[in-house]
Symmetry: D5
Subunit: 96 residues, 10 copies
């Protein structure tokens, strides 16, 4: 099942820089693994913002929740979830 | 260049049903052509809404504007445009 | 999978009264059938509003979309969809 | 009487982790007791958010207030209360 | 139980004037009866608006819903309901 | 003259508990005095919120401002003021 | 007592032009009379909008309500009322 | 040229009290001077808020900006600027 | 003096097409004249919207108001006005 | 390609003053260089706000993102990006 997730990251100014970089690196690895598994289908950067638009393809709401709560940067995030379906006009076979 | 476009359609209750169906058919053909050209990369339905989330891959803002203004259903639409970039964590070669 | 759906109904003042009653009756039958199937698990009235809060238990986003688009009163509705999961503190076995 | 309550929890980044876990454990026990009593009828997790949607079945507004103010996590919560009624289309006897 | 209800009335410009006056008169009688019964405890006019702030004292959410849906002007109203309780600092015996 | 005032209180988590209780006690006494004088006509608790809905009956905007600025909890408050008038449908003599 | 009132006028496109001009003329005379009486102390045009910012100096909320409801253009208006007081830093004697 | 400026002041709870009073005194003198010059034509207190509504009469946008940025309390302010013009219905010669 | 003006145009579906085209042509001529005079310094199209972002360079708020109220499409517009100044970092001599 | 970017700066009260000035100086140099390159076409100050309205002329969304993320004051900014196109009514050759 498809979900769009908008993630806006806001790391406090006085947060430890090294620790922030460490968390970002763990986040990147976490994302890569999920992209390879196919659950994290797309991730784009929103121009001008420390935010991304992602498309997830997961088995259930629970799995989506599990993935999002597992994001290392989750504590710094504002998240908006939009459930999606295949569009009747889509010509792409694999866009579910 | 990538843009996310949210299109919410609101056809007045008293709008002529046959004409609405005609416009929708033209819209579908219009969308298929742009999907085949690759400019309309993704289109998903928002669950529970007469709305879609689309990803466009176009040469310029002008081209995006031209496409959107050319939508047969444009007069019935509320549109939100978000410029996107390739995300540094994306592992997909073709996600621009 | 669980979804909360908030449905607010706004029937224009000048809409034909008899036709409105007819649609409402069809809506009620439609809802009863889905409640009996278990997909429409709960429906409550929002006090003071022509609106309801419902909990759906469906197999997929697509099924939810299909159900909502099939609502006879859909053209008069503003809909908000919130994907839910089982809560770790829930003691009810059947609250998914 | 039925109320929907949306509880969004926001624990500051620099809040003591151990103390937060302690409070969460007390909250869970508090919730279990009220669920067993039937006053806290449903609790679902909002996918992607540290938030829940709950349905309370209480004798009065006062009792609802008392329960919510007694939530150990209350100081970290943003709360939205919606009074509900039985829906005329509900086929469930026990949905009040 | 106490509820604050904000009622904002918006009668379309082209609505039949005589019919509007008729409905307003029925509304006034309806309100008087409920005020005499004590269920409609207070009604104040919002300065500069065709709106009122009312305090209802009713047995249940259902009764509140029944009263509000029964308002002759309901079809022209936007309504906001806020559940209230007795305040611990209130010195008035009869403010529930 | 009548005003509705909505007061939402937000005391920071790390604010000294004892000092907060002291201020609340002074606030209660302050409120009682104004209720006895008749200027603070009604105070109700908003169910589920650390907020109240109050009705003030004061000689002028200045007096209202003076009262509100004098609230011991004022520094922790978000305040919304709505000027009211007697409603033409009110049957209560003393609702101004 | 002082009030700021923001009045935004929205006359439907298909409203009879002659009748609109007639109402505007009556509005202007109505405003002049109240300005001469001193109750309508200031009226400024908001640049780029069919709206004005006015300062009223009236004896009570009731009087303000009476004036605003008496505006010939009232049915076309969205109104926002803000109660004001004399500012402690004001050096103008007559700014109340 | 006329501008309405809404200034809402929010001084953090833990800000040094003496320093706050010092800044307020400087602000008052600053305001008096501009009122005497005629640039700061009106200042009213918003009832119930630590905010004011002011009318400025300045030569240009630059001058307005210079004045506002020079406000000693500027760092604690949320400011909204609305450009005004003389209203065609104004009977006051000096309301520009 | 510089102002940014955002103009969003919304022509009703059932508005006479020929008349709309006529008004648009008059609007274009009106805009060209003001661009040649230098008062309408910039006009850009907002991608995906029937809206423009314009920069005006006018002698006063009154002149801005006069220009905007004179727009043939004004009755179909939602307008937002933001007063601007020269930026201290601007290296362009003619950006005022 | 043209983008409008609204940048609102909010430097915490307790941020080191000298460091803030240093960052502002670097920001000014950064802006000057981009203005000279033509990518940062316009920058205006919003009257009364620590904010600017800028027009960027860049090759792609990526380049815009790169520029904005490179702003020394970025961590203190709230940014809104609006993609623009040449307007069909523009008479300026160089307004793209």
């Amino acid at each position: 099942m498809l979900f769009q997730v908008e993630m806006t990251v806001d790391i406090p100014l006085d947060f430890d820089k090294a620790e922030a970089e460490r968390i970002k690196a763990v986040e990147k690895a976490y994302s890569h693994e999920l992209q390879r598994s196919g659950e994290w289908r797309h991730i784009w950067r929103v121009a001008g913002q420390y935010a991304n638009l992602s498309i997830f393809d997961v088995a259930s709401n629970e799995r989506l929740h599990e993935i999002l709560m597992g994001l290392p940067l989750y504590p710094f995030m504002t998240i908006k979830v939009t459930p999606l379906c295949r569009h009747p006009s889509s010509i792409r076979d694999d866009d579910r």
